[in-house]
Amino acid sequence: MPTVSTESIDVFFNARSVAIYGASASQNSVGQAIVQNFIKPQYTGKVYAVNPKYNQVLGIPCYPTLQDIEENVDLVVVAVPARITPRVFEDIAAKGIKAAIIISGGFSETGPTGAELEDEVVAIAKKHGIRVIGPNCVGVVDTHSHIDTFFLPEYRCSRPRPSNVANISLVSQSGAFAAAISDWTAELGLGISKLISLGNKCDVDDDDLLRYLAEDSTTQVICYYTEGYDESKGRTFFDTARKVTPYKPILVVKSGKGSKARAAASSHTGSLAGSDRIAGAAYEQSGVIRVDNFEHMFDAAKALAMQPAARGDRVLMITNGGGLGVMTTDALEALNLAIPSPSEELNKRLHERLPAYCAVGNPIDVVGDTDASRYDAVFKEAIESGEYDMFVVGMLLQTPSLGMDITNVIANYQRMSGLPFVVVSMGGAFTTKAGEIMELMGVPTYATGEKAALAAEALAKYGEIKYGDKFNKTLVSDKP
């Protein structure tokens, strides 16, 4: 476990009193949108507006400075023009507040003048022990405490909700992506704990959040979107990540893959090494799982959040539709998972328990007229055989013979065996609803075999990271 204190970061997510500096009475302004977030009933802490122009904003009292507020303030959200931020920080320091999120832009991202301003703010913050997220960011969303500094109206940018089963937290360098992901994951119904946009990372950076999220009990999987690291920050992220990955999965989407190798290299090695290749190696070495895009990230993260890591690469596919079975096993094979046929012994036992017209192999096709009982028989025998490390279950609900009790059967065997299960269920409205129910019971469900295979791959990959040499790798790949 990382040992550096994460207390100074916790207040960003659990502040019980928040001041919005630059709170505004004008509609569609950033300063008003943020106040709006905090006056929703879900946020149960205290809210103060700060702006010398007003006596009140949206019905809450507005103060000329922080020092005019009598009570303690835990967190300040700064949404004022960049040039006056140093003055604002003097006020924050005088009030003795230890955490601030600077939403405003106009700092180092704009050039040397902005950079000077940023340095000035950082100097004040350092001197007074104030931790700072931003500037030039949308800040944080915490789905439990309802701290929400995203200045985007909810009808445009939905906020995700936490799941009772397992949750994902995401750190994004880009504010626009953080907002889009908020909106998208809300639509997907993915359980989210925290979304953090870091902006210019003038103080709080990837490492701070990694250490914090590693210890956060509401975060089961940590996701990052990054475009690269500041000087030597790639190395510190690597050092922290390798301590975290054995007990909590980390997923990364990194852009800038095409970044050129250093042109000025005078060695052969230097000319071959681009920063992105080195980053890829660092992820591999530290057990960080790199995924190609956000869709893959969410598919993988959902599986990793809800299911235990696989202890080996042997997957059994069970399906009530032949086509779905073949497509899914094709996808599993392409991802280097083993799809061994049942042993002679298991084969015999399955034949005894299934109608003769079921196809026993891998996949096992329990055929379209099945109810939950054939799945039950297959799970029981296959789990007892010890021949498989993971189950991918095809659940096509267009046939009326398969009742919703199938979800109970799947969830029960998953819990009893402690083995990872992934469900694939293609279809429309009824299927989608059934998938939601399946996920409430703790088993991740996907709309296509390819997505389910990707989820299975993530569970195997993380198993290899977590269990190392003890991971039962049966497939010797001939692929690089």
Partner: protein, 244 residues
């Protein structure tokens, strides 16, 4: 390692950001990296004597603070099988260096003479290298030489330091890994010896952070049990006006 620090100091004092071949090999030898027998010689007679004691065939290479790319300056002669070949090669190298200097308009320093080394038997050609990335720091690269590196860019990386199992994984990541395992009836290569070199280079760089880039190219890997040799080595270091 004191040896390395002394060499880097000398190099910087001479305004070099690279170390000379014998210096690079002295450092590597101190870290237990296998290298063909070598020496240095400042005269033709000296070169012949050194070649005789090392044993033919030998390689001669120019040693000068003013020449980084030795081949470009006509400063490399390989597979020299006799005294007369060595003598001739020595004189040619010195002449070539002088005319290289005239072309570049510099007075090439020739006081160090040449590097004399045993001409290693051909093995499976490997490149082991190090780069220093601004975001991640030092990383080691490995790949099979020739077209695998030049055309296919078939190389893998790990940050330094890394473990033995990382090193083995790096090799397995290579598309050309099968060649090391032995294909078409060829005996498998001495992967253990290669892994040992990778780990030694890692240790060397870890203890000498001023190294910015390094190539062991080629490194020859022989049949299982017959080891591996770093045949050509290049080490680049921070310029003195940069912080280490």
């Amino acid at each position: 390692m004191k040896e390395a620090k002394k060499i880097f100091k000398t190099a910087l004092a001479e305004g070099r950001t690279f170390v000379l071949e014998h210096e690079a090999k002295n450092i590597m030898r101190a870290y237990g990296i296998p290298i063909p027998p070598y020496s240095t010689a400042t005269t033709a007679d000296d070169a012949v004597a050194k070649a005789k004691s090392i044993g033919f065939p030998v390689v001669l290479k120019i040693l000068s603070k003013d020449i980084l790319h030795k081949s470009d300056a006509g400063g490399v002669k390989i597979n020299l099988k006799s005294e007369s070949e060595v003598r001739k090669a020595f004189n040619e190298i010195i002449e070539n260096a002088k005319s290289y200097g005239r072309e570049k308009g510099i007075d090439v320093d020739l006081s160090r003479g040449v590097f004399v080394s045993s001409f290693a038997n051909m093995g499976t050609e490997i490149i082991v290298g190090v780069t220093r990335d601004p975001q991640f720091g030092h990383a080691l690269m490995v790949g099979l030489g020739g077209i695998f590196v030049e055309v296919l860019k078939d190389v893998s990386f790990r940050l330094i330091p890394f473990t033995e199992s990382d090193a083995r994984e790096m090799l397995k990541e290579l598309k050309a890994y099968k060649i090391l395992e032995g294909i078409r009836g060829e005996a498998p290569r001495d992967v253990d010896a290669l892994v040992k070199i990778m780990l030694s280079v890692s240790k060397m760089v870890e203890e000498n952070q001023e190294i910015t880039e390094l190539d062991c190219n080629p490194t020859f890997v022989y049949k299982v049990g017959e080891g591996a040799l770093v045949v050509d080595a290049r080490i680049l270091i921070d310029s003195p006006n940069k912080k280490a």
